[in-house]
């Protein structure tokens, strides 16, 4: 559906997007994930033809976004980060204008607008001025506009930001439903959002594509060892020795010793549940367990780790030979393992 090849965007001396390549398949929800300033919006703006790439090629449904701009743009419904609304219009006027702009046939306009308004819950708001609408409703107007013209691809830049919890659930359901008929690409810096919604995730950091795959694949690949946080009554030495005696414990770090209570953080081999064994060992050593928590590494931590690593490894990479794009995710993983 969408093919992105070696996409690069330079702003003066700054590389906003650095040689990104990926393919988007039909009928799938894609999530573009990355911290602020990673290049998500820039990538989306290039996909939609708002700005041009310095280098590389984007084709949408076989149409090059530069050479067959109008044909490519006709396949895309875009909701930018800040919905592009004319605040002196009502939602109905605005949607009429957008439908006309997108060259929707006169006869199709009303049904399409009705459908878009009903899907985004705009009923009852159609005749208020957009400037009097709240942020959530403005977001919906922008969303409805993106649906007009029945585009094959819907691109949403941070669609959930600024909505209240009830609206978040509604919009999430809407995106899921849309994913059944359209190809959806959305961006977010919130990982839970992306992993809940998307079939495929692309992680972008510092303009580079650092990892891609289904959320399950990513969490499988990326979640590291499980950490236990234990507080027990007893001397530090005794507690550490008791914990270390359990098979499967990789490392025990003493965190605090106060009033005869000792806190340690224990790294356990992947896939093992040693809670019972450790508490039994501590009981044998006469150090009663006061608290025991599992701190498994969440996708969030992994995400933070990956994205911060790219920043660190940027300097190194410049010294080394250029790394092939395909190898990069594996490369960062190797770094990660080495660190642990």
């Amino acid at each position: 559906m969408i093919q992105v090849e070696h996409l690069t965007k330079r702003y003066g001396g700054h590389l906003a997007v650095d040689d990104i390549s990926f393919t988007v398949e039909e009928g799938t929800i894609y999530g573009l994930l990355g911290p602020n300033g990673a290049g998500k919006s820039t990538t989306m703006n290039i996909l939609t033809g708002y700005i041009s790439a310095s280098d590389g090629k984007v084709t949408i449904d076989g149409h090059d976004v530069l050479e067959e701009a109008s044909a490519a743009k006709a396949c895309v419904g875009y909701l930018p980060e800040q919905p592009p609304l004319y605040v002196d219009m009502t939602p109905l006027e605005y949607l009429n204008f957008v439908a006309e702009l997108k060259k929707v046939k006169r006869a199709d306009r009303k049904p399409q607008i009705d459908y878009a308004m009903q899907r985004t819950g705009l009923a009852g708001m159609e005749n208020r001025l957009i400037k009097n609408l709240s942020k959530g409703y403005r977001q919906r107007v922008g969303f409805a506009a993106a649906l007009l013209g029945n585009p094959k691809v819907i691109i949403l830049d941070e669609p959930i930001v600024g909505l209240d919890p009830a609206q978040v659930i509604e919009i999430r359901n809407l995106i899921k439903e849309l994913g059944q008929q359209h190809t959806v690409i959305l961006s977010s810096h919130i990982l839970s959002e992306v992993s809940a919604l998307c079939d495929k995730v692309l992680i972008i950091a510092n303009g580079k594509l650092v990892a891609q795959g289904t959320p399950e694949e990513l969490s499988e690949q990326l979640t590291g060892d499980v950490t236990l946080q234990i507080t027990a009554l007893g001397e530090a030495q005794k507690v550490v020795a008791a914990v270390n005696s359990v098979q499967g414990v990789k490392q025990t770090v003493l965190e605090q010793e106060q009033n005869g209570e000792t806190s340690v953080s224990v790294t356990v081999e992947q896939g093992k549940d040693l809670r019972a064994a450790i508490s039994a060992a501590l009981a044998m050593a006469e150090c009663p367990v006061l608290a025991l928590n599992t701190v498994s590494m969440t996708l969030e931590d992994v995400f933070l780790q990956i994205t911060s690593q790219t920043e660190e490894s940027d300097a190194e990479e410049e010294l080394q030979e250029p790394v092939d794009e395909q190898q990069e995710p594996a490369d960062t993983q190797a770094h990660e393992e080495a660190q642990e």
Binding site: Y50, L85, L101, K103
Partner: protein, 287 residues
């Protein structure tokens, strides 16, 4: 294109600005018509039109200031540029909307020569050719101000810059008469223009050497010209000044001529600035 045109017109007349500007234009049109034609006794309405060219200096920048500047500020240009419409269509849609807004008060004024006819004598042919010329002149000025609006995202700056540019174009003929005295002044003005060009190039390319190089080479060339063929400088200066005097060709209509030259000049100015506007929008995508 039609969609953009319709939206522009709707938004212009749904706010206060549209009615205010149309009203002001009609007020001044009426005043000058009364003064020059009804009381002054001239049978050619073009004379009244020429007297309030100065109103255009304010009317047109105010009319055009919103055009692209506001789109950029509120990021609605993102909608236009990601829709399946070409930049040409966007520019033309906006331009035609501005032209229609300018045409509305002019259409009302087109009745004035008929009033004159009714009251006594009227030079209908001269009056209507004057109105056509006036429309073309406005169309050129609108293209200039629309281009200025595309350069900034601040409406106020767009209006002030538009006013400044039109005012200079308006005053150029009288400035020009100051300079016919000698080529030394022409040299001075060319040097200032050269300096400005060099500074702009320097800022754009971030290269002091390039800017300094351009200035030095230009300075040497101008000095040689000044030493050998000082007459050329003065002629070139007069010609350039003449080409930049946007409101001057309209005088031919005032003199009762239907000047094709003037119309071609205005159409070329409009075409040039529409092209530049399109280029500005296109260029914005590349950096």
């Amino acid at each position: 294109m039609i969609a953009i045109l319709k939206r522009e017109l709707k938004s212009y007349y749904s706010g206060m600005m549209g009615w205010l500007l149309t009203g002001a234009m009609l007020l001044f049109g009426g005043l000058y018509f009364t003064a020059a034609n009804l009381q002054g006794g001239y049978t050619n309405f073009t004379i009244a039109l020429y007297s309030f060219v100065i109103v255009l200096l304010i009317f047109i920048p105010l009319l055009c200031m919103r055009s692209f500047a506001e789109e950029k500020r509120s990021k609605t240009d993102q909608l236009l540029l990601t829709s399946p419409v070409s930049i040409t269509e966007i520019v033309l849609g906006k331009y035609l909307a501005l032209l229609s807004m300018f045409a509305v008060p002019l259409a009302v004024m087109a009745l004035y020569p008929l009033i004159m006819k009714f009251l006594g004598g009227a030079d209908l042919l001269a009056s209507y050719s004057g109105i056509v010329g006036y429309f073309f002149m406005g169309a050129a000025a609108i293209a200039v101000c629309m281009y200025i609006s595309a350069l900034t995202e601040n409406q106020i700056i767009a209006a002030l810059a538009g006013f400044g540019v039109l005012l200079i174009a308006y005053l150029l003929p009288s400035i020009q008469t100051l300079f016919t005295a000698g080529s030394a002044l022409a040299l001075g003005v060319f040097l200032v223009i050269l300096l400005i060009a060099a500074v702009i190039v320097g800022l754009r390319s971030r290269s002091v050497t390039l800017a300094a190089g351009i200035f030095v080479v230009g300075f040497v060339l101008l000095s040689i010209l000044f030493g050998t063929k000082s007459g050329w400088l003065t002629t070139a200066f007069t010609n350039i000044m003449g080409a930049l005097s946007l409101f001057e060709p309209f005088l031919e209509f005032v003199n009762g001529l239907f000047s094709i030259n003037a119309l071609v000049y205005y159409a070329s100015v409009a075409g040039l600035f529409l092209f530049l506007t399109g280029q500005t929008l296109e260029k914005r995508r590349w950096n």
